[in-house]
Amino acid sequence: MELLIFYPLASLCVLFALGVVINKSPVGSAMSLIAMMLGLAGIFVLLQAHFIAILQIIIYAGAIMVLFMFVIMLLNLKDKGEDKNWLSRDKNLLLTVLSGFLVAGVLYKIIEITSSIEFNSPALLPETFGTVRQVGTILFTEFVLPFEVASILLLVAMIGAVVLAKSKVD
């Protein structure tokens, strides 16, 4: 049953991710990215992480993508700023081969680790796994320092964005 939900969602996610890369217009890329975020929220629900799934929709598909669309509209990009000839850019064969080996090695290690017994079947989960109460309790007890640091990070990012994007005063 889970497989029947997983495969369509996963293939949709991969297709829309390819759509982000392939699409010619930035607006089309942004729309594909929103669809990919929603598919990933579905996968998070499948993994019993309800809180993260809702956050994924609110923060990514909501806030961040609105920011992207806003900047795309603000800059009013037609098709300038994009080259059509990325295939003809100069290549480095050695780097290509080395990164191919890297990907193959990572995939081999993934298979080796996950084919061991303990990861073959999911753990038995308590009823409260992934709920807002459970995640929030851990966030505010065990991980309270990273939580506060994250708030400072967001404050710094906000100030930085205002300073960078404001019009010149001099």
Partner: protein, 104 residues
């Protein structure tokens, strides 16, 4: 393993596939906004791995960590897009190959 449940490796392969797509997007596209979107794809791919390991090992640490990843992504996007806007004000293009105003 009964047939109903998804093995962990499937989630990890999905994560690896999305990450590779994100890397490809960063490498082949020259539109700065699309490059930022590809970085978002990579961050999301990492989140899948974290949450899948959480579910298979009955932990919550990965969910907390992916929460932090989302915070960093929000900060990164807001600062990055502000940088794009301020560069665009000096030179009206978002082609990364033409971003050489720092070069004297």
């Amino acid at each position: 393993m009964d047939m109903g449940t998804v093995p962990l490796s499937h989630y990890l392969f999905l994560s690896a596939t999305l990450f590779v797509i994100g890397v490809t997007g960063v490498l082949i596209r020259r539109n700065a906004i699309v490059v930022f979107m590809s970085i978002e794809i990579m961050l999301n791919a990492v989140n899948i791995s974290l949450i899948a390991f959480d579910r298979y090992m009955n932990l919550h640490d990965g969910q907390i960590f992916s929460f932090m990843v989302m915070c960093v992504a929000a900060a990164e996007v807001s600062v990055g897009l502000a940088i794009i806007i301020s560069v665009f004000r000096n030179k009206p293009t978002i082609n990364l190959d033409e971003f050489n105003i720092m070069k004297s």
